[in-house]
Symmetry: C2
Subunit: 485 residues, 2 copies
């Protein structure tokens, strides 16, 4: 049955009013009581601007306190936050806004002008615009039904258009409690958020904060010096990062010849597997790295490896969190097959896309599209990401999306995209093109930039005579990778 709990932010403000909810590098601090009051005020102002229960409201913002307030505020109205990636192009944003039935977009002040310029058929308001409104007398929700939708975050798939992953309050609740059962919960915990809040990895930190009563140390973006500083001198105990950042943090530690304070207890590592030499380096520096595996559909990590096992289970993502289950779609779990996961943190489906939902979720089991196996002790090894997924600095890039864009050029006959190893980003996309001899690399990239976020643009274009294809005429990306080596 549907479980009802008190609204998590109201509850935390009641239990621990003076506890710090968010602090920033600049020294700003906001308590749970203040965060609650500001969120409720903002909700009443949003109501004055016409946002109602059930509305889908886009959030287009860099990491900042106002963004967190806006997301909580929408939950008080029973409206759904559609988290927009600020790196996307106009085309990409247009698709998500339209598919997600977004009627209003809330933008941080610095990004307001740019999204207004895009002329979407939506009401664009900056946080400051809303702040200037009167508070309406709307009744705010003081209870949460865990089955209700809270956020929608778009994720690209192997084929077709991006899909809007619907997260219920329950998905976030179970993710937060599942993480606490794994990592423990200490009164002195402080979680650093440097990942974008428009990704579930960043967003989930603020939900944990409300549920645990735990301060978040908020950075506008990842900057290794600021992260290093926060761990060394600001009592941060837990950090969520992606592999590319770990390397830079280790460099800083090595330069200084020092170690993190013993109170620092968890470097939660997501966004692709960490290379063994990097883990060895981390171990030498006593950095407690928890490797993890998750995706938007699982509301953040669903499989995590503790530091004790990090080096004797090199390459493993760990075991599924307490409320989660995992199996491999193969004859035996120890043979490679598609990874399936199940649990109350897993999305019930994609917004307004029952076909995609049916394809991905059956009997509660989500087919991740990733390939992997489980060893005798139950540790998961991810062998291959979702059909050729390129993870570049923590962002997911699907080759098919880039191929589809480049195919739109008149001079292009065929195109294949793969991820090339890169010291800084892990992987970067590169494209193989069969096309007219007049075609230049610059022209291709300029064209693609009209449609694709910068991080998705191929870093290199190779012109070839013919793409490698198998008997069924399907592109063989593995052969393209061989051309690179």
């Amino acid at each position: 049955m549907s479980e009802i709990i008190p609204h998590w932010l109201t509850k935390q403000a009641f239990l621990a009013p003076k506890q710090i909810a968010i602090e920033t590098k600049e020294g700003d601090k906001i308590t749970f009581l203040e965060l609650n009051e500001k969120s409720e005020q903002f909700a009443k102002k949003l109501a004055s601007s016409g946002v109602t229960n059930g509305a889908h409201v886009g959030i287009f913002s860099t990491n900042n306190v106002s963004m967190v307030i806006a997301i909580h505020a929408l939950s008080y109205l029973g409206a759904v936050s559609v988290m927009l990636n600020t790196k996307l192009t106009k085309e990409e944003l247009h698709y998500q806004i339209s598919d997600g039935k977004v009627r209003t977009v809330l933008a941080c002040d610095s990004l307001g002008p740019s999204i207004r310029q895009m002329n979407f058929p939506v009401d664009v308001k900056t946080f400051t615009d809303i702040d200037k409104q009167q508070e309406s007398e709307v009744t705010l929700l003081q209870e949460i039904n865990l089955d209700d939708a809270f956020t929608i975050i778009y994720t690209s798939g192997t084929t077709g258009f991006p899909k809007g992953v619907v997260h219920t309050f329950g998905n976030h609740w179970w993710s937060a409690t599942g993480s606490a059962l794994n990592l423990g919960l200490r009164a002195e915990d402080k979680w650093l958020a440097a990942l974008p809040i428009f990704h579930v990895s960043g967003l989930s930190i603020f939900i944990r904060s409300a549920i645990y009563g735990m301060p978040v140390y908020l950075l506008e973006k990842f900057d290794e010096k600021n992260v290093h500083e926060a761990i060394m001198y600001r009592e941060v105990t837990i950090v969520s990062i992606v592999t590319v950042m770990l390397q830079r943090l280790i460099n800083l530690l090595e330069e200084g010849g020092n170690r993190y304070p013993p109170s620092f207890r968890c470097m939660l590592l997501g966004g692709g597997p960490a290379p063994e030499p990097l883990l060895e380096k981390a171990k030498k520096r006593n950095i407690p790295v928890f490797q993890s595996y998750g995706m938007t559909e699982t509301a953040s990590q669903i499989v995590t490896l503790s530091p004790e096992d990090a080096l004797n289970k090199i390459g493993s993502a760990g075991k599924p969190l307490f409320p989660a289950q995992l199996k491999i779609n193969s004859q035996n779990n120890d043979q490679v097959g598609e990874i399936l996961v199940k649990g109350p943190m897993v999305t019930k489906g994609y917004f307004n896309n029952s076909d995609a939902t049916k394809k991905a979720v059956a009997n509660g089991w989500l087919a991740t599209g990733d390939l992997g196996y489980v060893d005798q002790s139950g540790f998961l090894y991810v062998v291959d990401r979702r059909k050729d997924l390129i993870i570049s600095g923590g962002e997911n890039i699907y080759p098919s999306e880039i191929e589809s864009v480049l195919s739109g050029m008149d001079e292009v006959k065929e195109v294949g995209v793969v991820g090339k190893n890169d010291d800084t980003w892990g992987k970067v996309p590169v494209a193989f093109i069969v096309g007219n001899s007049t075609l230049t690399e610059e022209a291709c990239i300029a064209y693609a930039a009209n449609y694709l976020a910068k991080y998705k643009l191929p870093k290199q274009i190779y012109f070839i005579d013919k793409l490698p294809r198998n008997a069924s005429n399907k592109l063989v990306r593995a052969s393209l990778l061989e051309l690179l080596s």
Copy 2:
């Protein structure tokens, strides 16, 4: 919607196979893997003895590891454990077994003969009887549906017969996670269980253990020396106790002139309010006392007061746990009225007793029958326990139950029972009787002993001419109390 999670014991055995699940004073230790294996084996043997999915199986046992195994084993079969209080009389047990539709009773070896002698129309098996069985090839449940029934525990009410509180797996899950969000969760935690496991206060410790991956230090019964020893020398970090025990523990500390180790972090105090001088004493000795309020229907504590607030909120039970809500049935929360609670740890109702359920639960709110108020900061003060409830050494005693029994004596015309203050037990029941002059105290108590557990027998009988009654001819217990003072 119904949430499905992996079976909690199987899951913990998978995540932390070598972690200690239970240790005893005698030095016996059992890991989660062993506990899981033994429980699954026991389940298969129970299946051989005819226990099937949905069966109601009585548990009649002192605190011991086999009892915990039996309870887990029943959950693997989808059978429901009906927890029987071993202090009850034959009459009382008969009622619960019959009302609870119990067909099989599992008894610890020492209590097997006594319950067999009672000749109930049920199949009585000792744990050893079951152990001798072959394992059947039954399929064990490897998933838990949180909406399914897990245990039934009888509780007496203000009127009528005891009622079977049904706890779903979800009630226990939410209670455990709600407690963790309040107390935190540390890898070094070890919870001492000295309260009877047939009460929800004792049982819930073992559910938390399975969910947290936390060792329980199990005592067969409360003995202050053993508890003291466990805190001082066995790395116990959390203890659940009732008020009467706290006094004895403080005495032991004072005798030794020492303090608990700093790793000891929580003395969770239930079963009635603690007197101020006792709290002062505890504070002087740096004992971190967490006062709490709860009942069988709430699957253990639902309101808890942290030590920081213990002395400036003397008499308060604290604030409702994170997933719980509380309100007072009066004009304002700060006026005395009946305490209502709501949350996913609260029972959905009584077994086979929709009348009692309807009376107690409306729209998810449970009417506790207790009176209280909430101060401006949201702290609950319990003013009066469920209509004259007598809490004696942590056991609940309802005056109406004793009155009903004594009324059955031919020589008794009228009877009124109240709780008298007692240095050792907090309260003890005493009876006021209007009856024939031939009646003696001994005869009354001997008669009552046929029907009532020993702890419910009046400690004193006062013979009087007339009971105090109000205009509606209802007994005024407050006036009886005045006669005692």
